[in-house]
Amino acid sequence: MSKAAKFHKKLMTGRKKQGHFSALNIALVDCGEDWAEMSLTPTDALIGDPSTGALHSGPITTLLDSALGIAASVALPRLGFAPTIDLRVDHLRMASVDEPLIARGEVVRITRNVLFARGSVRQGDIEIAHAVGNFVRLSDDVLALAEAHIKHQLDAMENSDES
């Protein structure tokens, strides 16, 4: 596993979950050189249409944005993050709130300025949605700052673990 993948795993799993990931029960399953898998465990609070009990599209978009975004982040040559430029999601089927969703995102190509990614979401064996998304490859000096910031956060986490 690449160093970046290790850092991202640590960041996502090594702290109490907060923010939008915790609101939607999103967790990192695993990530590698240029890919990431994430899960979303739905609750009734994420229903879009109470007459059918279907999960709203918003959490599915969020899960895909996260999986593609982390795939883009781990594919960078150094530790950092990659802001989303755009994302297009096709909703192939309705999802229920009875079973977790698993999304996989992968980077298709990296250029000097852009990371091209794609991915899909399944619930059990059924494909629910697929997506294409493009991400900003920040300049090396911005990424160096991001790397320093993330390392600082990881150090802070480790210190608070010890106390």
Binding site: L11, R15, Q18, G19, H20, F21, S22, A23, L24, D44, A45, L46, I47, G48, D49, P50, S51, T52, H56, S57, G58, P59, T61, T62, L63, L64, D65, S66, G69, F81, P83, T84, I85, D86, L87, R88, V89, D90, H91, M94, H149, I150, Q153
Partner: protein, 148 residues
């Protein structure tokens, strides 16, 4: 009032805020309708930012997915507020363009119906924080409203 009850009403009697209150995901996200009765102001949606919308914990910014979820809700409720359809519209696809960094602050949305077909309905949405002339994101949706 449940969503079914609100959607049983003729479209002119539906209050956008009442529609939102019938959608569990909209309640969880804290999406509200800004109603301006008697004015020609377009229907606007607002979401007050809180920790639950935060993305990457190393940066105090709004998660792009929270912004997209807000846009998807705004588009669907806009349809239900202006079109005589009695079912929650089915989203076929959604495209989000993220134009500027969204801080963890109040976001506003306004939608425009681009096509009202017998089956397909196309909606555009624009989202901004402080200045409507500087949108943080725009979105495009295709919905199936098959009960019309």
């Amino acid at each position: 009032m449940s969503l079914d009850h609100v959607l049983d009403l003729p479209v002119k009697q539906r209050r956008p805020q009442a529609i939102l209150e019938g959608i569990p995901y909209a309640v969880m996200m804290g999406v509200l309708a800004e109603e301006n009765p008697g004015t020609h102001e377009p229907l606007r949606f607002v979401m007050h930012a809180s920790e639950l919308h935060m993305g990457n914990p190393t940066l105090p910014a709004m998660h792009g997915g929270a912004l997209s979820g807000f846009m998807e809700l705004a588009c669907a409720v806009h349809i239900l507020s202006f079109m005589e359809t009695a079912k929650y519209p089915k989203l076929i696809d959604f495209s989000s363009d993220y134009l500027r960094a969204a801080r963890l602050q109040t976001v506003h949305a306004v939608c425009e119906l681009m096509r009202e077909g017998r089956n397909l309905t196309a909606v555009q949405v624009k989202v901004w924080q402080e200045d409507p002339a500087k949108p943080v994101a725009i979105g495009r949706a295709q919905f199936l409203c098959a009960d019309r």
